[in-house]
């Protein structure tokens, strides 16, 4: 059997980087997206034929990625993992329009556009489109209102797409909880108040994500505490809270 071909967005840091390490060790053919220059990436699996540098906030990012795959002769994808994302912490009336737009562009528009561009490649292998969402999608998150909305949008998209693609490709959604990555500092969150240093490390979360993907399950929430939180969040939603 051939090694699977796996595309991971946001592979240059955090959970995406941990996922890339995990799959590199299995011998998969990797295609990795990130925004930072390749020179800043230490791992040997970041090469000119694996790493596509692209700003996913740009409207034509999906076309750039598609062309990159074409150049590499990639015609099939077993896994398309939408992981790139950004957060913002703070009162919603203080969030500038530009960061609202960026967050919607990277967290919602980019995965939808990339899926649109690359779906035929995934269908060729009866592969899987994976969305890295967050438990924030199903909870009232006053300090992360737009972030939560962006992840809920992704969930809603995936749910409907799954029904459309039944029998042709899988659609899987993963809901991680808080993870010890640099995203929180970049979001402007108060790390100490959140207890950032006690969050599970991205390596552990990435292993759990890889297991969830391999299981073929439609939806997985990572960690028991997060499962309970998300369940409670969904019941409260029904009650209008």
């Amino acid at each position: 059997m051939n090694a699977p071909t796996i595309l991971i967005s946001g592979a240059s840091d955090g959970i995406g980087l941990a996922l890339a390490r995990h799959y590199a060790a299995t011998g998969a053919r990797l295609l990795l997206l990130g925004r930072r220059p390749a020179s800043g990436l230490g791992e040997s699996f970041f090469t000119a034929t694996s790493y596509c540098r692209v700003d996913l906030a740009q409207p034509y990012a999906h076309a750039i990625v598609k062309r990159f795959l074409l150049h590499q002769g990639i015609e099939r994808l077993d896994l398309l993992i939408h992981n790139a994302g950004l957060g913002y912490y703070g009162p919603l009336e203080q969030q500038p329009a530009a960061t609202i737009n960026d967050m919607l562009a990277v967290n919602v528009h980019a995965p939808i556009a990339l899926t649109h561009a690359l779906l035929p490649l995934v269908e060729r292998t009866h592969g899987s489109v994976v969305f890295i969402s967050s438990i924030a999608a199903n909870l009232p998150v006053p300090q992360y209102a737009v972030y939560g909305a962006s992840k809920a949008a992704l969930d809603g998209f995936a749910r409907s797409l799954r029904v459309e693609l039944a029998g042709r490709a899988r659609v899987q959604v993963i809901h991680p909880g808080a993870t010890r990555t640099a995203m929180h500092a970049r979001s402007g969150a108060p790390l100490e108040k959140l207890g950032w240093s006690r969050f599970p490390p991205p390596e552990r979360v990435a292993r759990a994500i890889a297991r969830a993907i391999a299981s073929g399950r439609d939806e997985t929430t990572i960690g028991l505490g997060n499962r309970m939180l998300r369940w409670a969040g969904r019941q409260l939603e029904w009650l209008g809270y």
Partner: protein
């Protein structure tokens, strides 16, 4: 002084019905719409009915349009009721449906209310204890295969409303989950219009929304049939997805 009600997409459909309903209840109405001709008609209609009415012409699907609307609203009285109603859809199989159209759906249905809410709250344009009303969709409970980007926009909108309600306890936030409504919008996007008479008339929906605002409800699923379908979607999501697949996806 009259209370002030701002409604996006007020020139036609549910927005127009809302404008007439709130106008009749004594609110001064400011509509925001992209369709200048229809806006003029609805404005005249409101004025004939004795309501104070004005329209801001803006394309909320564009960032500049949102900024324009927010700028104009900053010159007007504080807002007692803000209804995020403007919305479009795109129906078809995701892979076959033009990406630009799906992006337009997300910009207008999700981007615009987030940007406009943030701008108006930043400028403190909401009156004390004012109401923000978000028109989500029954699809939030049932799924919407055949309109994946539309479903995304409405799920995102409902989640935003929920966080907003938690963030701003000084304001009232109502999320509405309408089912099929008898408007030109529905006719345009539905793959099958034979059972149009089963859709809820927009006047009935507007009435339910006005009552829910008055009672400061947090959630409104208008209509017993829709409530049942939503509950089914909550308890047995596969079942409603299957139903939507039969009624929408397999007909597009």
């Amino acid at each position: 002084m009259n209370k002030h009600c701002v409604i996006t997409g007020a020139a036609d459909g549910i927005g127009r019905a809302l404008a007439l309903r709130f106008g009749a209840a004594g609110y001064g109405i400011t509509g925001v719409d992209v369709d200048e001709a229809r806006a003029a008609q609805t404005q005249a209609e409101l004025q004939r009915a004795g309501a104070e009415a004005r329209f801001i012409i803006a394309d909320l699907g564009q960032q500049a349009g949102v900024e324009h609307a927010a700028g104009e609203l900053a010159q007007l009285p504080l807002i007692d009721v803000l209804v995020h109603n403007a919305g479009i859809s795109a129906v078809g199989r995701f892979g076959a449906l033009d990406l630009a159209r799906q992006q337009a759906v997300l910009h207008l249905n999700l981007g615009a209310p987030l940007l406009l809410s943030a701008a108006l709250l930043r400028q403190e344009r909401m009156g004390r204890g004012g109401s923000l009303v978000f028109l989500a969709s029954l699809s939030c409970f049932t799924g919407y295969p055949g309109a994946a980007s539309y479903a995304a926009s409405k799920d995102g909108l409902a989640a935003y409303a929920r966080s907003l309600a938690a963030a701003r306890r000084d304001l009232h936030v109502l999320t509405v989950y309408p089912g099929p409504t008898r408007t030109a919008h529905a006719r345009r996007y539905s793959p099958d219009n034979r059972r149009e008479s089963r859709r809820m008339p927009p006047e009935q929906l507007a009435n339910a929304i006005a009552h829910a605002v008055q009672r400061r409800q947090r959630l409104l699923i208008p209509g017993a049939g829709n409530q049942l379908f939503a509950l089914l979607g909550h308890l047995a999501p596969r079942l409603t997805e299957w139903a939507m697949r039969k009624t929408v996806l397999e007909k597009v």
